[in-house]
């Protein structure tokens, strides 16, 4: 029975065939975590508009704070973690 040689050759060929796709295909990039820095708008992109309840040291604002209302001015948008923490 002539088995060893041809079986081994077949096995090697099969293993190579199965390995080939992983050698040539690229891993798809993992989707960025929603809300993570990778999803932040970059320089040159339009700043996403928003409308949020607003406040100042004088009290609550009657109208929402809407980014598009400030078109024509520079807006510094500072996200911070929580009031009363340092900074």
């Amino acid at each position: 029975m002539r088995t060893n040689g041809s079986h081994r050759a077949a096995f090697i060929a099969l293993a190579a065939f199965m390995a080939a796709p992983s050698l040539y295909s690229q891993q798809p990039a993992a989707a960025p975590v929603p809300g993570s820095a990778a999803t932040a708008p970059t320089v040159g992109q339009a700043a996403p508009d928003f409308s949020l309840p607003g406040a100042t040291r004088f009290g609550l604002l009657k109208d929402p704070v809407k980014l598009s209302d400030y078109r024509g001015q520079t807006v510094v948008l500072a996200f911070f973690a929580r009031a009363r923490t340092k900074g």
Partner: protein, 110 residues
């Protein structure tokens, strides 16, 4: 926020043509009383469900997502400082420069 308040004139053109908006998940009432106690001159916006933070890549649950975006008069991002280091003088210098750059006439080099 304290440093923003103390350096407001130099960093933010004394509020002329520059609007500073602090965004956090705090209720607007919390932000208002905090601003009153500390004398913060800027606007606050309350984003409790982080819907806006997510739009700005600032809601991944880490405590250091103190990202700052400088938005020009055209509504586009002019500069951004991710994970703003509130303890670093350089960070404020960089912020002041970014704001000043939006106020100079167009035609400057980038």
């Amino acid at each position: 926020m304290e440093a923003y308040r103390d350096q407001y004139a130099t960093l933010f053109n004394n509020g002329k043509k520059v609007v500073v908006i602090g965004i956090s998940t705090d209720a607007d009432t919390t932000q208002s009383s905090w601003a009153r106690e500390s004398g913060f001159p800027n606007l606050f916006a309350s984003d409790p469900d982080q819907s806006v933070a997510k739009l700005y890549g600032s809601a991944d649950g880490k405590s250091d997502t103190r990202n700052v975006f400088v938005i020009g008069a055209d509504g586009k991002i002019a500069a951004r400082i991710m994970r703003f280091n509130v303890l670093s003088g350089d960070a404020y210098t960089e912020l002041g420069k970014a704001v000043a750059a939006t106020l100079t006439p167009a035609g400057g080099s980038h």
